[in-house]
Amino acid sequence: MNLLTYVIRRLCLMILVLFGVLVITFFVSHVIPADPVTAALGSQAPAYLIEKVRHEWGLDLPLQEQFFNYLWNALHGDLGISIRTSRPVAEDLLQYFPATIELSTAAIILAVALSIPLGIISAVRRNKLADHITRIFSIFGISMPVFWLGLLLLAALYFKLRLMPSPGQLSFQIVPPPRVTGFLSIDSLLAGDLNAFFNYLSHLILPAFVLGFASLASITRITRSSMLEVLRQDYIRTARAKGLSSRVVINRHALKNALIPTTTVIGLRYGSLLEGAVLTETIFAWPGVGQYAVGAILFLDFPAIMGSVLAIAVVYSIANLIVDLVYGFLDPRMRVGD
């Protein structure tokens, strides 16, 4: 099987997975004993208006009919109209998704850039001070709730010490660049607005760190343990016996092998960052899909709930596919087609 067939097969499987996600999300969200129409119209609305709106939103149809209508439209690229924003869900997602992608990508980059060196140091200097500090750090990362860490860092670094900028994507005096891609980093560069670009990056650091902290901790731990495992292998002893420098032994022989489980974790973490973004986005006033999805859930905005879950599932599946392809690069034995 060559690489192309493999990718195509995986993409076909992905469609099945997405279908499953849609079925589950649709029926779970619709069995909640609450009515989005009364939620939207408030307690004052007269009965005739409630019936009219229920009909307009297609909620007076039997559940299975609603589902097949949704599926049919989704297959034609129509994710429906959001009840809450009165706009096409696809349009809403295009607006909110870039902010989340930027935030979670920054978070994973920050987490990987810090965690792999930390994991290696921790393994190489096992049971020494650096190892102890790293391990305490990762326990903190795993056990600290995101909303608590976020508010704590904001209170300390923004409010008290004034080292970090306010919540939000840009400082309030900065005029946002014209929207082209929706990615503020790219849009500000396209507009040639370095002021906005750097301002945006400065606003990105804190939420990215908070969001990535749990991932940082778990990637550090997995890197450390798999590094320790690899360092015990015979081929490492052989390499050392050959008189190779420690640097070559660790970087060329040990690290590449130790990174396989780490890569799995990174892939999974990236997916979960999209979900974890919900709280981080609220605390840092980040206009991402997490906030959009929560708003949709509270409002029982079914099309928006379905659209958000679908979009997150797509990204999650693609991240997993990329991880599988990276395996082949790291370990020739796992290469597709061999």
């Binding site: 009364t38 850039a113 301002n199 409002f299």
Partner: protein
């Protein structure tokens, strides 16, 4: 030795990361540069605007959407400052009602126009009302309840509009409804230019504006901000600030930090604890006003035990109202035991109930419940920032003292409304916000229900608590059509008195809205109906 080298190499990766962070620090340079540029006066408000569905005046129905539309559009009539007892002219100069009680004539101010240059005339008024009637969006009933339709409106000349209502209505009732933002006058030329598929501009007006108000909607970036630009040619005079930038900040702690740091001027949604913590801050003031929002405990009178008025009274005597107001709400409420809030005509200041355990117990014994009973109390965890879960816990402990065992059921507000509308809640903590500043809004909700069966048309609060009362229902209808204001007030006195002692409600309190404002901001007044006027605000820079 070589091992040390390898680690040094890895540490250099760390240093590289730190270096990147330092480059980012360059923003301080850019930020300080931009701060020196001369800027228009901008008022920055942090607000949770996530609930806004639309800024089309025919559709907007959420508090935050209404406050924005109040500043972007004008109506025929309006209120002045905090006086909600009198309706003042706005786009209309004067009005009169014919002796038949149903023919209303409004004379418009001459010479006014929208920013586009379109004159504000009878055609604009009729088009605006036609939009509301045809689009049939959630707030439309405020207008259509009077039977207003295309063929009941007429332009007598360019500046005179006549409405024929479906019945005679009390003046205050009709005029208060015309002061609600759904009755905003839109620029017909601009709206028609943006019509798609005969939608009367609904898709476009969702996030654009076509009003004659003090501000125009410059931008609504969902999830981020709503920007209003001052209408420099505003007919009442240029507003005090050039730009109003409403930042969407959901987290109330963020709002507090931003306010204290001076990054924003007004924090819209602070919680009672956070407001209390700001009392000592010399740079910040708390501006407040009782809101036309009342909170109540509803009791299902359709079945035992609440079908017995003595039991409902026992509950009213068992609750420690001051404890709720002072300890839980910390001043974000004032006492209220009748159904019409303070500030609206017909308000009845009686507060006979205080916690009297002995009296409550004896009422329960009379009703045949000497050992109390068990009951389920349903509430959302919080409602409009009010910690209703804590209030429920307080009521549980109060009622336990008279032998009533309360089980608290916490559910989402959406789920609560669904069950409430199905008459299936035994006890509920609810809120009623008046839609317009007239007693009819509350009287109809709390006291108008002739049958508890599904044939009732309004299905409002009395119906949802399975309480029918022909005497109060007759009075509510009579008062809504009473043209004599004195007689009308007398009707409301009777209605509030009956419900106070017999109704299925224990009124808990009237909400007080509090906004935290930096002292550099002057002229900000909190409105009980969230109809804040931003045009009077000035800001020292």
């Amino acid at each position: 030795m070589s091992k040390r080298k390898a680690i040094t190499k890895l540490q250099s990766v760390l240093i590289a990361v730190v270096l990147i962070a330092i480059i980012i620090g360059a923003y301080f340079y850019y930020a300080s540069q931009s701060a020196q540029v001369q800027k228009p006066v901008t008022l920055v408000i942090a607000m949770d605007t996530s609930s806004i569905v639309s800024l089309d005046p025919a559709k907007a129905y959420e508090f935050e959407g209404i406050v924005i539309n109040n500043n972007v559009y004008n109506r025929l009539v309006g209120f002045k400052g905090i006086d909600y007892s009198t309706v003042y002219p706005e786009l209309a100069d004067s009005w009169n009602v014919a002796s038949d009680g149903v023919t209303w004539t409004f004379n418009l101010k001459h010479g006014l126009s929208f920013p586009s240059g379109t004159p504000i005339n009878a055609a604009a008024v009729i088009y605006s009302f036609q939009r509301v009637v045809q689009l049939q969006q959630p707030p439309s009933w405020v207008i259509t309840q009077f039977g207003i339709k295309s063929d009941t409106m007429k332009a007598l000349d360019d500046y005179t509009v006549q409405f024929k209502l479906n019945a005679p209505y009390a003046k205050g009732l009709f005029l208060s409804c015309l002061a609600f933002p759904v009755a905003s006058i839109v620029d017909p030329t601009v709206v028609k230019a943006h019509e798609t598929n005969g939608d009367m501009g609904a898709a476009w007006l969702l996030d654009h504006s076509a009003g004659s108000g003090a501000f125009t909607l410059a931008k609504w970036q969902r999830g981020t901000e709503i920007v209003l630009n001052a209408n420099k040619n505003y007919w009442k005079g240029k507003p005090g600030v050039d730009i109003i930038d409403i930042k969407e900040i959901k987290e109330t702690l963020d709002q507090r930090m931003l306010l204290e740091r001076g990054d924003i001027d007004i924090a819209w949604n602070l919680l009672p604890d956070q407001l209390a913590a700001l009392k000592d801050n010399k740079d910040i003031s708390i501006v407040s006003s009782p809101a036309f929002q009342v909170f109540y405990l509803g009791m299902n009178a359709g079945s035992k035990p609440f079908n017995d008025p003595r039991v409902r009274n026992a509950v009213r005597w068992a609750i420690d109202y001051n404890g709720i107001i002072n300890n839980i709400l910390k001043g974000a409420a004032i006492g209220l035991q009748t159904i019409i809030p303070k500030g609206i005509a017909g308000y009845n200041p009686q507060t006979p109930f205080t916690q009297d355990i002995a009296k409550a117990k004896s009422l329960l014994a009379d009703a045949g419940y000497p050992n109390g009973f068990s009951v389920q109390l349903t509430t959302p965890a919080s409602l409009s920032g009010a910690p209703t879960a804590d209030i429920a816990a307080k009521i549980k402990s109060d009622l336990a003292k008279v032998g009533i065992d309360v089980q608290i059921q916490l559910i989402t507000y959406a789920e609560l409304l669904t069950k409430y509308r199905a008459q299936s809640l035994q006890m509920v903590i609810g809120r009623w916000g008046s839609d317009y500043a007239d007693p009819n809004s509350n009287a109809a909700a709390f006291a108008l229900c002739r049958t508890t069966s599904s044939s009732d048309t309004a299905k409002q609060l009395a119906w949802r608590n399975v309480y029918a009362n022909n005497a109060t229902s007759d009075l509510v209808v009579q008062a809504s059509r009473e043209l004599d204001d004195t007689k009308r007030l007398d009707d409301y006195k009777q209605i509030t008195g009956i419900i106070l002692n017999d109704g299925p409600f224990a009124m808990l309190y009237q909400l007080v809205i509090q906004r935290a404002v930096r002292n550099s901001v002057k002229g900000f007044i909190v409105s009980p109906l969230t109809l804040e006027d931003f045009s009077t605000i000035t800001k020292q820079t």
